[in-house]
């Protein structure tokens, strides 16, 4: 499947090139064919035709950030969760943030925002302060693990933008979090 797609892509690209060139006299030699593993430009060319087809990914792509959207990259960074009315980094959050830090240090070009959130139980205004504290606690922890502070912005949403809309401890725990939004790669 992958092979045939690639072959189709190259064919389409060639056709496109021929069509594009047919109206003009050939002025310059065609660009050197790109090496096979770097298939990005070709894939982009056929994408509009083949939208329902999932994007082909390879081992090489999975390890690269160039082909991934900001939201995909954001999803690769796992959120840290907090206790009620607390902004301390818990044991489980330490492990999560350590993995995040490892990834972030691997891709030093990635810039990101840490969002601090709270559950719905405190007041709106206090929760904005609490969310600010959570975002900054996560930021400080990442910095302590060697992530450059200049890559990190933080913002608090308090209880304004909950992830889970329920009104029980399950939803509340999901909402007491610091999560990542990649803004540049």
């Amino acid at each position: 499947m992958k092979q045939s797609l690639k072959a189709l892509s190259i064919t389409l690209a060639a056709v496109a090139f021929v069509v594009a060139c047919s109206s003009k006299p050939p002025a310059a030699p065609p660009p050197a064919p790109t090496p096979a593993p770097v298939s990005t430009p070709t894939v982009v060319t056929i994408d509009p035709v083949a939208t329902p087809t999932p994007k082909p990914t390879s081992r090489v792509d999975a390890d690269s950030i160039a082909n991934r959207s900001m939201s995909e990259l954001s999803g690769m960074l796992k959120p840290a969760f907090f206790d009620y009315d607390k902004a301390d980094i818990r044991g489980d959050a330490r492990d999560v943030l350590a993995a995040d830090a490892t990834w972030l240090k691997k891709y030093p070009s990635v810039m990101f925002t840490i969002e601090g959130h709270s559950d719905e139980r405190g007041t709106a205004q206090y929760n904005l302060a609490l969310g600010d504290r959570r975002a900054n606690a996560a930021k400080d922890y990442l910095v302590s693990l060697g992530v450059d502070a200049s890559r990190i912005k933080s913002v608090s949403y308090g209880k304004e933008r909950p992830f889970a809309t329920g009104h029980d401890e399950d939803a509340w725990q999901k909402n007491r979090r610091a999560n990542f939004v990649v803004t540049a790669k």
């Binding site: 904005l128 600010d132 504290r133």
Partner: protein, 452 residues
């Protein structure tokens, strides 16, 4: 016209009155704005629990039988008038089902007694009639004990101003008995998510939920508005430039501008009583502190310096102190300090979470969101005695109280299930609070600070 029957009495009453409030008009000490510890005389006058409320009959407004006039002017007028007076804390409205037929106005003691049998001591007789493109409302207040009219007023306006006429009359009636107009012509600002998912815009409305109007078009979070003391503009927190900032906007949505500050978060802005300074919750390196800044961004000053969370400052009416929330002693509690950040003292001692303080207009009382177990409720503390009463009840989180400019009412937001709406209740907890919004979810009310 029936009103003619009482014209002699009216003239006599008018001569007697000559502009002075009739009842309780003996000069009372006006509560001063200068001391937190001033006993609030109005508190006991308006909202005292023991028989201060005047029983009042409000029969349906008399008007020509015209269906359009009825639906467009008479019904809104009468409903608004009844709601205002029933919720005023000054009157108790006698049950309309008991009202006698006719006898308006009562001409003798027997007819007066027929009205008094409904428990009323006063009768508010209103007539509405078209006059060109306008409507004219004639209102007479009768003392059923003396069978004398003690107030006679005429109001004119377009039919669509019927509610406003009713608010004006209700306000005049409250002033007749308390010496102070009622809050019925004032507006409340709040934030609402009705327009778009993940967006809150600042709105304003009449205190009873009518005439709602969107003020901001931020298409992001615009939160926690607070009125300038003169009621011409609002300060609020908005995420318009990615990082949340302090913004000012005119009450009609014009003249929006950001107050430049170097801090982060920039939540909970509060106007100083002189309108020159904003107190707010700013974050520096992940620690929220209380700051003040001039409305042009100059003169930034940090008032707290504490590793704990400090948030939600609110200016006292005398301009010399700020209430704020801090968890520096464990749970979030309300503290006060002066404008140098000195003389910090804890105000709330009971409960495991007290937050979002709001001073009464006379500075004598503090409303706040209070919680021990269960949901937040709205509490009011008398600052002189420390006596605290809970004025809200029922399930759901009750938060963000704000006082009406006359100190008689408090608005807050209440979450029931997945719906959050603005409620308006009496500051002494009497009567039933009314939910006045319904479109989307509505939060963080701020009541305008002047009575027009």
């Amino acid at each position: 016209m029936k009103g003619v029957r009482g014209i002699g009495a009216l003239l006599a009453a008018a001569a007697l009155l000559s502009g002075a409030p009739l009842l309780g008009q003996a000069p009372r000490p006006v509560p001063t704005l200068s001391g937190v510890a001033q006993p609030a005389d109005i508190y006991t006058t308006i909202t005292g629990p023991t028989g201060a409320r005047r029983p009042l009959a409000i029969p349906m407004t008399i008007a020509p039988l015209q269906p359009e006039l009825q639906t467009k002017a008479v019904d809104p007028f009468y409903t608004t008038l009844s709601d205002d007076l029933a919720g005023s804390g000054v009157f108790v409205v006698a049950d309309p089902a008991l009202y006698p037929k006719g006898l308006r106005p009562p001409q003798n003691r027997e007819e007066g007694d027929a009205w008094k049998a409904t428990s009323a001591q006063f009768l508010l007789d209103t007539h509405l009639s078209p006059d060109g493109g306008n409507v004219v409302v004639e209102a007479m207040l009768w003392d059923l004990g003396t069978i004398k009219s003690i107030l006679h007023k005429t109001y004119t306006g377009e039919p669509r101003a019927a509610r406003r006429i009713a608010h004006t009359l209700a306000s005049d009636l409250v002033r007749q008995f308390t010496g102070k107009p009622g809050p019925f012509l004032t507006r409340i600002a709040f934030s609402s998510d009705r327009d778009e998912a993940r967006v809150k815009e600042v709105y304003t409305m009449d205190f009873d939920g009518e005439n709602q109007r969107r003020i901001t078009s931020s298409r992001t979070l615009s939160l926690a508005p607070d009125w300038s003391p003169d009621g011409t503009k609002l300060v609020y927190q908005s995420y318009e430039k990615d990082t949340p900032g302090l913004w000012l906007i005119g009450k009609d949505g014009a003249d929006k501008r950001q107050i430049p500050v170097p801090t982060q978060l920039n939540a909970s802005p509060s106007f100083s009583p002189d309108g020159k300074t904003i107190a707010f919750c700013g974050s520096v390196r992940g620690n929220t502190e209380i700051f003040t800044v001039q409305t042009d961004g100059s003169g930034l000053k940090r008032l707290t310096e504490n590793a704990a969370i400090d948030s939600t400052p609110r200016w006292s009416p005398n301009g010399r102190e700020l209430a704020f929330t801090s968890n520096r002693q464990g749970t979030p509690q309300i503290f006060m300090m002066d404008l140098e950040g000195a003389n910090v003292r804890r105000v709330t001692l009971a409960g495991n979470w007290n937050d979002e303080a709001a001073f009464s207009p006379d500075g004598g009382r503090l409303a706040f969101a209070c919680r021990n177990e269960g949901d937040f409720q709205i509490c009011v503390m008398d600052l002189l005695s420390g006596r605290t009463v809970q004025i809200s009840s029922g399930p759901g989180a009750h938060e963000a109280p704000t006082w009406s400019p006359d100190g008689s009412k408090i608005a807050w937001d209440v979450q029931r299930g997945s719906s959050t709406q603005i409620a308006v209740g009496n500051a002494d907890g009497s009567g039933t609070a009314r939910i006045v919004t319904s479109s989307g979810n509505n939060y963080s009310p701020s009541w305008v600070k002047t009575l027009e």
